[in-house]
Symmetry: C2
Subunit: 458 residues, 2 copies
């Protein structure tokens, strides 16, 4: 039959395509952290990966058989584009993402007007397409690993359709606090929780998000079912190989040249409100104001990549980020020194190279499911760099003892901690860097996958 | 000595003054709901009320002895105006109010830059002035009732200075969820909680806010001390007297004339982001769109009063509210029908008269400590009006069984519930109205004051 004993379902697949000049689909590096982390784990596993065709290029690629990968079957779900935009943009990204990250300006959003029910129908329909595709390819008793907030209804749909399957749902975002979850239309909220609760088990990156999920279930009168905590870790061998590559070396040489003998503060994020770029730049501005001796002596290299540009909120945010950077540079810059270098060209080599040689890595999200950069950075960094880490990142639970903690909402605190990091004595830097590497190595990507399979009862 | 056995401390006193054309202070009705509710309770009690001189007019009035009231001593705290603006505008209103009501657009606010510590010093200094004034006037072993988020540090200051006193702190706002409370600078947050925890007891309007306070203490490592729940109720005799007054009758006649034989939806609020006026107007717009038979047949009378106009956020909000109203009226209005009448002239008689004759009262705050309008309306309404009440208002705990509940974030739900209220059969309206009156009468203002005194161990 060619059916699978292990099925992965996620919105984004391991490969994304764009159309080249001749109109032919060409693969690009998948931009999402999740697909990038899963892909090397699953190659050669014999699993089937069910994902959305997110664009016309993806559809053409699937038709042309370009989605196939060694030892990994791919199955594309092909919703019509209107349904997909409603489910993906309106429900998943503009609502569920904002809800779980506490990003709503609650005075004005969400609005949940009469078009909501149409959008929710699209979300339900997309989930049903996934459930149908999984039901089609899964062998009897197979394990199904359903990823993230895009697919919360799949477990219940599969439980009805294929009760033989063991379905694990894993949430990569934070989970909303019960009072924040209440901002969703009540019926949709309950349907979402019931959808998850029907899984064999629901997984989260930290105890905190698991507790929030269970709190939401209690508040909405839904019996939550089994849940577990398993933080994702980096794919160590893959990263070490990459750090040793020629392209990384070349990118690093270019950074060396730009930075010179100045100190280097690095951040690497999607340009995304939850990542808190604004307060990062405001804090750097305040550092230069309150610690004059660092003027001319430190560069902040902010490497980003544009994100979700179909949402007005993201376009506005990207503009605010640019203005914040301009303001710092206009205020403090000199002929031979730009305090902040913002690069949103999405150059993975450059981002990776920056991680190998930062003096300070700033990871200050307002709320973050895990934050893999906070783990990847310390793993590949070769300069005893200091990790300045938000208390609100999921990774903080694992890394707290060796990172410097910041309250991401507190610009004065962030500035003070950046100064502390820049001033840290070499032996203390070395001690903390070694401790971080040790903490990160404890949990690698394979451990996470093993936890999910164990939760399925395999 | 003339000392007091009962001392009230609140930011706003029972009387506020403005300067008349001749530059002389003249009293005006205090705009805050709290002072208005407490004043009739305390007249003749022999208590001393300690409050801030909030303006130059208040200072002059205090100097001229105009603050005195029958059987109620007044003691004015007179911070310098810079300190007062920092403590009142920056800390209390722009930060603590936003925090407790979950109003921050967290992507951008709070910022907590280097000026925060100066503002917090001002808050501490204002609290110290209150503690000093209370310590000065309180008799040995007196009961001190400290009101609200402006004065959280007073209990600890008094515990150190006058351990003989029994200090009760009462919070009239919601209390922030633990994760929202974390957005405050960590030191200030802990100082605030410790300040409250030193009280003989801390009171809240609902179990929900009490639980949030205790959750914040647990999250921040502060031992909370005793707490209690006591929802404030209206001053029934005072309201009934007012409903029977000639000025209320005249105002009601003017409303009758304006409304004619149309149905009347009323809201009465401060123009304040937590009151959720925007979604109220969006929902009314959606009602007219989805229920065409109500076009021309219903008027929404929105009575407000301007608030905190020194804060940019409030000015922006007031403008958005006006635009939302204009949009509904331009879209649906006809030569002889304005769907929404917005009046922010702060005419207390008109607001009160509207409560006596609404068909539907819309109270849809995104989060509200209690909401006295939701209790006062049903008490004085004479037309079997229906109460549409947000689940996020503190009063919902008491009134749920007889009100129609709305999710205040859900415009479609609000529109549907407004339609349900307008369509309700007369006998069902009468049954619910009677049930609401009965529920409201169970807890009157005197019960609340008695609870506070009991919590002090008097």
């Amino acid at each position: 039959m060619g059916g699978a004993d292990l099925v992965i379902a996620s919105n984004r697949g391991p490969l994304s395509f764009v159309l080249d000049a001749a109109g032919q689909p060409t693969p690009v590096d998948a931009a999402g952290g999740l697909a990038g982390a899963l892909h090397p784990l699953l190659e050669g596993s014999g699993a089937t990966w069910v994902a959305s065709a997110m664009s016309e290029a993806d559809r053409l690629a699937a038709d042309a058989g370009l989605m196939s990968q060694p030892g990994l079957e791919l199955e594309m779900v092909r919703p019509d584009l209107v349904t997909y935009r409603m489910a993906y943009d309106v429900v998943s990204n503009a609502t569920l993402w904002f809800c779980h990250h506490h990003l709503f300006d609650l005075v004005r959003r969400p609005r949940s007007g009469r078009l909501w029910s149409e959008a929710w129908d699209a979300y339900r329909s997309l989930n049903a397409s996934f459930a149908a595709a999984v039901a089609e390819v899964a062998n009897d008793g197979a394990t199904v690993l359903v990823q993230d907030y895009h697919l919360c209804l799949v477990p219940e749909m599969l439980a009805r359709r294929r009760p033989d399957l063991k379905t694990v749902h894993f949430t990569h975002t934070p989970f909303a606090d019960p009072n924040m979850f209440r901002v969703l239309p009540a019926d949709s909220g309950r349907e979402l929780l019931s959808g998850m609760a029907a899984a064999t088990a629901c997984g989260f990156h930290t105890r905190r998000w698991e507790a929030a999920y269970r709190g939401c279930c209690a508040d909405r009168g839904v019996e939550p079912g089994p849940s577990f905590v398993s933080p994702l870790g980096p794919h160590v061998a893959h990263l070490e190989e990459r750090a040793a590559s020629a392209s990384c070396g070349a990118a690093r040489a270019r950074i060396d040249e730009m930075v010179g003998d100045r100190r280097l503060v690095v951040r690497v994020d999607r340009v995304e409100p939850s990542k808190n770029l604004l307060r990062g730049f405001w804090a750097f501005d305040e550092l230069l104001e309150t610690h004059p001796r660092w003027r001319g002596k430190v560069v902040m290299l902010a490497l980003g990549y544009a994100s979700r540009e179909t949402l007005a909120e993201y376009l506005a945010y990207a503009t605010e980020v640019e203005h914040a950077v301009d303001r710092v540079n206009e205020r403090w810059g000199t002929g031979d020194w730009s305090p902040v270098v913002l690069d949103v060209a999405d150059d993975p080599d450059r981002s990776f190279a920056a991680l190998t040689r930062y003096d300070v890595l700033l990871v200050n999200p307002v709320r973050d499911g895990l934050n893999l950069v906070a783990k990847e950075g310390p793993l590949v960094n070769e300069t005893d760099g200091v990790l300045v880490l938000s208390r609100e990142a999921g990774a903080f639970e694992e890394l707290a003892e060796a990172a410097l903690a910041v309250n991401p909402y507190d610009v004065a605190d962030t500035a003070a901690v950046l100064a502390e990091a820049l001033d840290m004595a070499p032996d203390e830097r070395a001690r903390r860097a070694a401790a971080l590497r040790e903490l990160v190595r404890r949990r690698q990507a394979g451990d996470w996958l093993a936890d999910l399979s164990a939760a399925a009862g395999r």
